[in-house]
């Protein structure tokens, strides 16, 4: 029994070669397209050489000259902000209500929030167009906002639901009510301040998603309501350099929103850790 003696290898602390190769390959794949787009947007000419022949900012100047540039930015912002507004008004109270008053409906809500992942955006667009085009809602921004809301609601729901779980909304509500507050007062004065980081994260995610939304906008409103992604696609067929400058704007907004989300997440974690420590 146990006569074989096998010497145990010392455990490695430094990453192995296989790890470095895989991660380097991953970074290469993730960064090369983005870096190239950034370079292309400031390159004078870049079709014969490895690196651009010269650098210029003229294409950024030209983006402002591009017709529809400012109006498309404005349209994208209008669409994003209205969707965030509708999401906040509908999803925050509903999620809270289900968490505290209607826990038996939680599985239904969870399912409703996964469903949009199972509906291709083109199918949603087709369905909405078929039903609403003969009505006054057809070809209207309201229809688009409704569609974009459905498509983006999981992004608002998840951070809020997680935040409600983390603060134990049920107990906080009971505590608030035992002190004489109504459910509405508890939501406004106790719950929302405590899940604020979740609300901000959700709003930022919705912003990023809707700002980059192309399919629903194109198929529901098309040329009637040109948003930034629509303009970008248009320019990929007109002028590559300007399209690259548009892409850079689009990438940069996505990066900024992600950094903000990370920052909000860290900030709220830090705050709650502090709260625990001070007790």
């Amino acid at each position: 029994m146990g006569k074989t003696q096998i010497v145990k290898k010392k455990e490695k602390v430094r990453p192995g070669a296989w790890q470095i190769i895989l991660i380097a390959g991953f970074l290469f794949y993730m960064f090369i397209p983005i870096i190239s787009t950034y370079l292309f947007s400031v390159a004078t000419r870049w079709d014969r050489t490895i690196l651009p022949e010269g650098y210029t900012l003229e294409f950024y100047g030209k983006t402002f000259e591009a017709s529809y540039f400012l109006s498309s930015l404005r349209n994208s912002i209008i669409l994003s902000v209205s969707t965030i507004f509708v999401s906040l008004v509908l999803i925050v109270p509903t999620t809270y209500w289900v968490h505290v008053r209607l826990p038996q409906a939680k599985p239904i809500l969870d399912m409703l929030m996964i469903l949009p992942f199972g509906i291709p955006t083109v199918v949603l667009a087709l369905a909405l167009v078929q039903v609403y085009n003969p009505t006054p809602l057809g070809h209207s921004p309201v229809l688009l906002i409704g569609a974009v809301f459905i498509y983006s609601m999981p992004f608002m729901y998840r951070p809020i639901s997680n935040a409600l779980n983390a603060i134990d909304a049920q107990t906080l509500t009971e505590a608030g009510q035992s002190l004489g507050a109504t459910t509405g007062q508890v939501l406004l004065k106790v719950i929302i301040p405590n899940i604020f980081a979740g609300i901000i994260s959700g709003s930022l995610l919705v912003f990023a998603t809707v700002f980059a939304e192309f399919t629903l906008t194109k198929l529901i409103l098309g040329a009637r309501f040109k948003t930034f992604p629509l303009l970008l696609v248009e320019y990929t067929r007109i002028n590559g350099n300007i399209a690259a400058a548009f892409s850079v704007i689009s990438f940069t907004i996505a990066w900024l929103v992600s950094i903000l989300i990370l920052w909000v997440g860290k900030k709220s974690q830090g705050a709650s850790a502090e709260a625990v420590r001070s007790h």
Binding site: F40, V123, Q130
Partner: protein, 289 residues
């Protein structure tokens, strides 16, 4: 006694009222349109009567092809994404530096959402006719990518899709690796198993639901994608989502009933994927209790 239960029922009904506004919104912009879509797929446009002609029309080569292409690209990029995403996820999970690990996870979070026109165009910049990598290969390896390869083709679209599939899989699989408890490995070892036996009997079976969840989610992710394909291969490759898009925009003269049938079939394929995804993640959650 009777009164109390009536009051309770009343309170219960009142609680459900709070759920109604949201449900109404979902009905208006999600369920009712989809029910109409389903109904519409069985209605003949001219006679307004019931018909199965739209479904029968799916046998035509053009529609079969678009489904085949969609399934092929979704399946292929999902498999590539699962295999490499799992390997990369494991490499990231095993990194000693927590900061670097978190940075890579955040990077995956951002890049998995890069899709559509900006991504498609970025791939044109690097792998188009005059793209950076195309140039690089000609100059240093004397290798002509074109015309055998084209970014505006199936293989080009695969490269673009893998760009957002890979980080998505990384995000799915890292929690699964974290879920493999060190104590399982130590228990197995103290019971006489070596590392290989541990992975074969415990590690991989425990990862399996996450791998299946990843595969189905990635498949659905690619199957429903539209913007990237629209920018890159609009007229070169027939995909289901592109076909449906044409029918809405009226760019091609088709019977709308055909579009509805394609939409219903896509819904079934996606719904099935998401259902399998849900079942798998439920199992993951149950195991990690």
């Amino acid at each position: 006694m009777d009164k109390k239960s009536k009051n309770q029922r009343l309170a219960g009904a009142k609680n459900w009222l709070g759920f109604v506004p949201f449900l109404l919104f979902c009905f208006a912009f999600e369920f009712v349109p989809i029910i109409f879509l389903f109904r519409g797929s069985f209605i003949d446009k001219a006679t307004k009567g019931f018909t199965l002609n739209h479904y029968a029309a799916m046998g035509k080569a053009i529609y079969i092809n678009s489904f085949l292409n969609s399934v092929k690209i979704s399946g292929l990029t999902a498999v590539i994404g699962v295999i490499f995403g799992t390997l990369i996820g494991y490499a990231i999970y095993r990194l000693p530096s927590e900061r670097f690990r978190n940075a890579l996870i955040s990077l995956s979070d951002v890049t998995t959402n890069f899709s559509g026109a900006p991504l498609a165009f970025a791939f044109v910049i690097i792998l188009g006719m005059n793209g950076v990598i195309t140039q690089f290969l000609i100059k240093y390896f004397n290798y002509q990518l074109y015309p055998d390869f084209s970014i505006y083709s199936f293989s080009g679209l695969v490269l673009a899709y893998v760009y957002f599939q890979l980080p998505l899989m990384v995000l799915i699989i890292i929690p699964a690796f974290v879920g493999i408890k060190k104590q399982w490995q130590e228990s197995a070892e103290s019971l006489g198993a070596n590392t290989l036996q541990f992975w074969w009997h415990i590690g991989i079976p425990v990862l399996a639901p996450s791998l299946i969840a990843g595969l189905t989610l990635l498949f659905a992710n690619a199957f429903g994608a539209y913007a990237t394909a629209y920018t890159l291969v609009e007229s070169q490759l027939s995909l289901v989502t592109l076909q449906i898009g044409y029918m809405i925009a009226g760019e091609v003269r088709h019977d709308p009933g055909i579009g509805m049938v394609m939409a219903i079939i896509s819904l079934l394929i996606m719904g099935l994927s998401i259902a399998i995804y849900q079942i798998s993640t439920t199992r993951v959650r149950r195991w990690s209790k």
